[in-house]
Symmetry: C2
Subunit: 135 residues, 2 copies
């Protein structure tokens, strides 16, 4: 029986976050099913429809905390449009331009060769590839 509150409590605690009712409710929405790409507003709409509504500020706080704790990552595709991504493995994205849909694709078959060395005094943190497509 996956998806009990206890699972999410433990997971949050393991990440150094108190398992409050709000965070557990959000974690369930985010992590119970498969991977998701979700905006703060969309997640707020979802949780508002549940029996345990959560304020928008808490949705933002929680998403930022989850990201900082490594439970999520954030993908910025356009000005004012950022998605929180429950897939934290190495992968890249298709961005479908008119609708704003994001789709994952695995990075293990993608090879990026010939990248120049990072500028002096800097260390590589991450390589983001966004493949923009149109209908």
């Amino acid at each position: 029986m996956p998806g009990t509150s206890l699972d999410f409590s433990a997971r949050l605690r393991a990440a150094g976050l108190r398992p409050t009712r709000q965070r557990v409710a959000l974690a369930r929405l985010l992590f119970a099913g498969g991977h998701r790409h979700v905006t703060a507003e969309a997640l707020h709409a979802e949780v508002k429809a549940s029996r345990m509504p959560v304020s928008l500020a808490t949705v933002y706080n929680s998403l930022n905390q989850f990201r900082d704790a490594g439970l999520l990552c954030e993908v910025v595709v356009a000005p004012g449009r950022s998605y929180f991504d429950t897939n934290i493995g190495h992968h890249h994205h298709f961005f479908i331009e008119p609708d704003g849909e994001l789709h994952d694709f695995p990075s293990d078959k993608v090879t990026i060769a010939g990248l120049p060395a990072p500028p002096k005094g800097t260390r590589l943190a991450r390589v983001d590839v966004i493949v923009r497509v149109r209908r």
Copy 2:
């Protein structure tokens, strides 16, 4: 003698834009020197310091028009942080995380192999690679 107003007028006209005083002033700042990565606010500050100040709304309008006309492209690196880029050739970016600096690197030595086919009903528009580095 590169950089006369006439050059920029012609260039704007060729792009289908009326060469107004404001657009010419902005085009000079953007295109007279080498390639630039500039935010709307930064360009507004620059043009305010000139003998021909331009309103912030016009800076935004012009940057969007220049981008739509293919004179610029826009690079989004973080929520609420987008740069207008006078380099419209194929290239990619280093993003230096704490400072927010953007640096070009040419794409001709970079090979991206193994990209999956675009989702059904879509056509590839552009591939953005952002290499995020930290100090």
